[in-house]
């Protein structure tokens, strides 16, 4: 029963806030929303402490009803979601000067939808909550609808992601036609042989998830949406929503298709799409000067790496990927909160406009420094621990890929830190393109509620690598039914590659300060903001993914 209450609570309070919010004082709305997420965390922890459970909703048994499965892995994911949501809600207490209760209702719906998507073990039900999550995300992105870029970004986000979801639904229909089942496990039991239909269905189902995970070439929407969404919302987008796409792929394969499609085929396809995202995201990240956009591209790169780790389909790599995910959540959410502090103070997040102006903000500067080092993967960050384990499982090429991707993205963030908070490099402020601050009035001092969540999150990401890896490893193993010893990141090779990435990252940062930038006008032109381009690439991506699955 606790599990049902946990799933229903955010939805129920969201409807309450939507219904009565306009008559409640702002303090009550904030308190109610924050309290709800705190209670959610407690409830989920209670379920975790009791060892997990499976609930058949409405009392309908296997083959008819919808199960909610609370395993250590799904509970860990939902707890992460709830913690980031809590941080985002605390940041928004003082962040928005004027915000309606609808914002809080949408945030709770978003949190609840993500949790329900993770917990449900029915394919169509997962699609419904995936759609709920997407619809709320479009609304949150377009929340400041008076800004031209905002509505444009939200529209691109909406069209591309909806189309991806329709591909997923077509795939679900095909699976249903073949197996007559909708439960993940039930499908897994009856899907045993590999033919063109199974491959097509798998490719279609994965499309929606890969669009959400921003694998290349489905990634175009992400930067458009992140650059314009309110910063507390970005914390949730980059921290957990995008990663749920990767989880969707993993779950679909492991629970439903692993007996039909050989792992080798799926591995090739996921590695190609993930590596492309890791590299392209890294290069685009270095090219940016709009800090939120820069962080958005770093998310594309890191989630690409996560997809590679998951795509190896090997237990060691999977537990590494889970650690990497947790480390990335802390670091990236903290960095976005830091960007929000800059936007609040100076009404811009343009790196050149902010040159040297961050000297008076030591805490924010620390968040950027610690965040940059976290993206690079300095021991003992969670990002480092996860990456080291994935590298050991993947071999030399993965080590090279991971070092390059982390050095590029971390280099860009460290460059921002050097330029904004230390005043390094020449000053060339020329854009004059001011954004409207998301906070209506400038606060004379930054309130602790806006600073503390970022600090706590980045420290959490930092200390994660010290946690014994077998906790996460066991959770993953029990989910994916994989066997094998749980590896440790503390190997000479792992520490060395972490330090190497940090060194390269500083190199990239210094080169960036001196004005070196890769000459890639073509890449700029590809990221055109034109919805036709995005959709054409999506279509091509579906085909390439399908062909990679067939190619032996």
């Amino acid at each position: 029963m606790i599990l049902q209450i946990a799933v229903g609570l955010p939805f129920l309070v969201a409807t309450l806030l939507a219904g009565t919010g306009r008559w409640l004082p702002r303090v009550a709305v904030d308190a109610l929303a924050t309290l709800t997420v705190a209670v959610l965390i407690v409830l989920l922890s209670l379920v975790l402490a009791s060892g997990g459970t499976t609930v058949w909703l409405g009392g309908w048994r296997e083959g008819v009803g919808i199960p909610l499965v609370a395993s250590p892995l799904t509970l860990g994911l939902t707890l992460t979601i709830a913690v980031v949501a809590l941080a985002a809600l605390i940041v928004s207490w003082r962040y928005f000067a004027e915000v309606q209760a609808i914002f809080h209702a949408l945030m709770l719906l978003f949190t609840g939808a993500m949790c329900a998507f993770v917990l449900t073990e029915d394919l169509f039900d997962a699609f419904v909550f995936f759609e709920l999550m997407s619809v709320v995300a479009y609304a949150l992105t377009g929340y400041k609808s008076e800004e031209p870029d905002t509505v444009h970004g939200a529209l691109n986000f909406g069209i591309v992601n909806s189309l991806g979801a329709y591909f997923t639904l077509s795939g679900i229909a095909l699976v249903y036609a073949r197996t007559g089942q909708l439960g993940f496990a039930a499908i897994g039991k009856s899907l045993r042989e590999d033919d063109a239909l199974v491959t097509l269905a798998f490719a279609l189902i994965c499309t929606g998830f890969l669009v959400k995970a921003a694998a290349v070439p489905f990634h175009f929407w992400l930067a458009d949406a992140h650059a314009v969404a309110p910063t507390p919302v970005c914390m949730l987008f980059s921290g957990v929503m995008v990663e749920l796409g990767v989880f969707g792929v993993l779950r679909t394969y492991v629970l439903s298709f692993s007996r039909a499609i050989p792992a080798a085929d799926v591995r090739t396809a996921l590695l190609v799409f993930g590596s492309a995202a890791a590299l392209l995201g890294g290069v685009m990240c270095v090219l940016q000067r709009h800090i939120k956009r820069l962080l958005a591209y770093s998310t594309i790169s890191h989630v690409g790496l996560l997809l590679v780790g998951v795509g190896l389909l090997d237990e060691a790599a999977l537990s590494g990927a889970a650690t990497y995910f947790l480390g990335h959540v802390g670091v990236k959410a903290a960095l976005f909160s830091g960007a929000g502090l800059l936007l609040n103070r100076y009404e811009t997040v343009d790196e050149h406009d902010l040159h040297g102006r961050g000297r008076s903000m030591p805490v924010t500067g620390t968040i950027f420094l610690l965040g940059g080092l976290g993206l690079a993967g300095l021991p003992p960050y969670g990002t480092w621990a996860g990456k080291a384990v994935m590298e050991e499982a993947g071999g030399v090429w993965l080590t090279a890929l991971a070092v390059v991707a982390s050095a590029l993205t971390a280099g860009a963030v460290l460059r921002v830190w050097l330029r904004v908070f230390l005043g390094a490099g020449p000053s060339r402020s020329d854009s004059g393109d001011h954004e409207e601050a998301e906070t209506r009035f400038k606060l004379s001092r930054l309130p602790w509620t806006m600073v503390a969540p970022g600090v706590v999150l980045v420290l959490g990401g930092l200390l994660l690598g010290l946690l014994p890896g077998h906790v996460i490893g066991r959770a993953v193993a029990s989910y994916a039914h994989l066997e094998g010893p749980v590896p440790t990141p503390w190997t000479p090779a792992g520490v060395l590659s972490g330090l190497l990435a940090v060194a390269f990252a500083f190199g990239v940062a210094v080169l960036g300060l001196r004005g070196y930038a890769p000459r890639v006008a073509l890449l700029h032109r590809l990221h055109s903001g034109h919805i036709g381009d995005y959709v054409a690439w999506l279509m091509a991506g579906v085909t390439v993914f399908g062909l990679l699955l067939i190619a032996r």
């Binding site: 409405g58 609808i102 719906l109 609840g112 039900d125 759609e131 089942q181």
Partner: protein, 226 residues
Amino acid sequence: MSPRGRLIVFLLGGAGFAVLFVLGTVHLPDFGGTWHPYGERTVSNAVARHTPNVISSINFDQRAFDTLGEELILMASALAAVVVLRGVRAEQEETAGAHEYGPAEVFDALRITGYLLLPITLVAGVYIVAHGSLSPGGGFQGGIVLGSAIHLVYLAGDYPALARIRPIPVFESGEAVAAGAFVLLALAAAGQVTAMNAAVGAEVGCAVVLVLAKFFEQALLVRTSS
């Protein structure tokens, strides 16, 4: 990209997709076949629970959690439309007084038709909601009829009257309350098909009114000022 480049990328992708789709669907079971195991189980469950409309039994009982998500999507979209289109208030005040809403001159026949159709449509909507567990139809279909019916008043040329009978805060709250009731029913007492039909009917009706109201506001404001 140039339109040409875009088209080439799409055509390559689309051609590949078409090939994959044809190759895949060849392996589907024959069209119109008799093998529908899940469907047959739900039919016998519905009969056992005395819900003659099997679809209602699935939507409100056996797979009620799907419908919960669906109702929340509906609520989220209606809220989102209110948020995204909210800018109009300030603009409206700037130029207040200059506007006259709605078609000023309407034929009497049309006006009478609008007023006559309204009660009939409302009754039909309620009927469709109430009989959702017995015959085709239900909360969703009836809710749309109810929500659209109110706009027949506009057909009668009476926009001020329309604006009066749909105060937005009331419908916003009504929609949220109905959605909340549905969440409670779905998680605590799935199978109350009639009650759930009513909740869905109320929510869908309110959501349709809200969304249409927002779009009407945008469109009519514009028409009279240009």
